[in-house]
């Protein structure tokens, strides 16, 4: 189980193995294939998942990159990325990040923690939340019995009710 104020430890082999185990379970629950869902797995530790939100009648598409380097002791890393590069550089890529303002899930295009500057999906189901040692109530701590769909679902739920459009394009 994740612990508050403890920095996550990476275990790439365990992360890949846990994803191997969880991916077919989640797909079976969703009743669809990776292809049907538009997901891709560029390497054994990464999933790319398309998401979308509607703000003021306009639909916006996003790419969520999940990283499984500390999974399942810790939640997956979750970052919105540039769909072309599949990576994120601030500030030029900030418009690839949705503005989410839920109490359960809030996005920061750049979040400062000590000397670190990262994109933060501020939600107890993301790895970065623990890396920045965010305050968390014990009942919200990630459990090893959770799976990556908990993470995606929390973000999708925020997209459904608390989406405020894109972060502005850099320089605009």
């Amino acid at each position: 189980m994740a612990r508050a104020n403890e920095y996550p430890t990476m275990d790439l082999e365990a992360g890949a193995a846990a994803l191997e185990e969880d991916l077919p379970r989640v797909l079976r629950m969703l009743g669809a294939s990776m292809e049907e869902l538009g997901w891709s797995r560029p390497n054994k530790l990464t999933l790319l998942i398309p998401l979308s939100g509607v703000y003021q009648g306009h639909a916006d598409d996003y790419t969520l990159r999940l990283g499984f380097q500390a999974y399942r002791t810790w939640p997956p890393s979750a970052q919105f990325v540039n769909p072309q590069t599949q990576s994120y550089s601030y500030p030029q890529d900030q418009h690839f990040v949705p503005q989410l303002t839920s109490g359960e899930c809030r996005t920061h295009a750049q979040y400062c923690h000590g000397t670190k500057r990262i994109q933060l999906i501020c939600c107890s189901a993301t790895l970065e939340f623990y890396e920045v040692e965010h305050n968390v109530n014990s009942e919200h701590l990630w459990s090893e019995t959770d799976n990556f769909w908990t993470t995606v679902n929390a973000i999708k739920r925020a997209m459904g009710s608390f989406y405020q459009g894109r972060f502005p394009k850099h320089g605009q």
Binding site: G31, S52, C105, S124, F129, H134, D146, Y163
Partner: protein, 100 residues
């Protein structure tokens, strides 16, 4: 109302309900009445899934971007549908998360 019409009306009150349990990555399908409340559907889902309710569980729609149904648990399926809160009878049980 003749017998056939009554039977048809009764049949229309029964629907197929689908519930996903995200934590267990399981799903169940069971019959239900549109006069059942969302709370009753949620309770029945645990029985069908053979899992116990967890303290931070929430009931939500299963759509593209799911919405919490926790403010509407006293509504019947029919009322929730007529008020546009649900579009179908597909739900999921998720865990509340903490954040901002």
């Amino acid at each position: 109302m003749n017998e056939q019409a009554e039977e048809s009306k009764q049949h229309g009150k029964h629907v197929e309900i689908h519930v996903q349990d995200i934590k267990e990555a399981e799903r169940v399908t069971f019959p239900g009445s549109i006069t059942a409340t969302l709370m009753q559907v949620w309770d029945k889902a645990y029985v069908e899934l053979k899992v116990a309710r967890r303290p931070k569980d929430i009931l939500q729609t299963e759509g593209h971007n799911p919405k919490s149904l926790m403010s509407y648990l006293e509504l019947t399926l029919e009322q929730a549908r007529d008020q546009g809160i649900i579009n179908d009878y597909r739900f999921s049980i998720a865990s509340e998360t903490g954040g901002a």
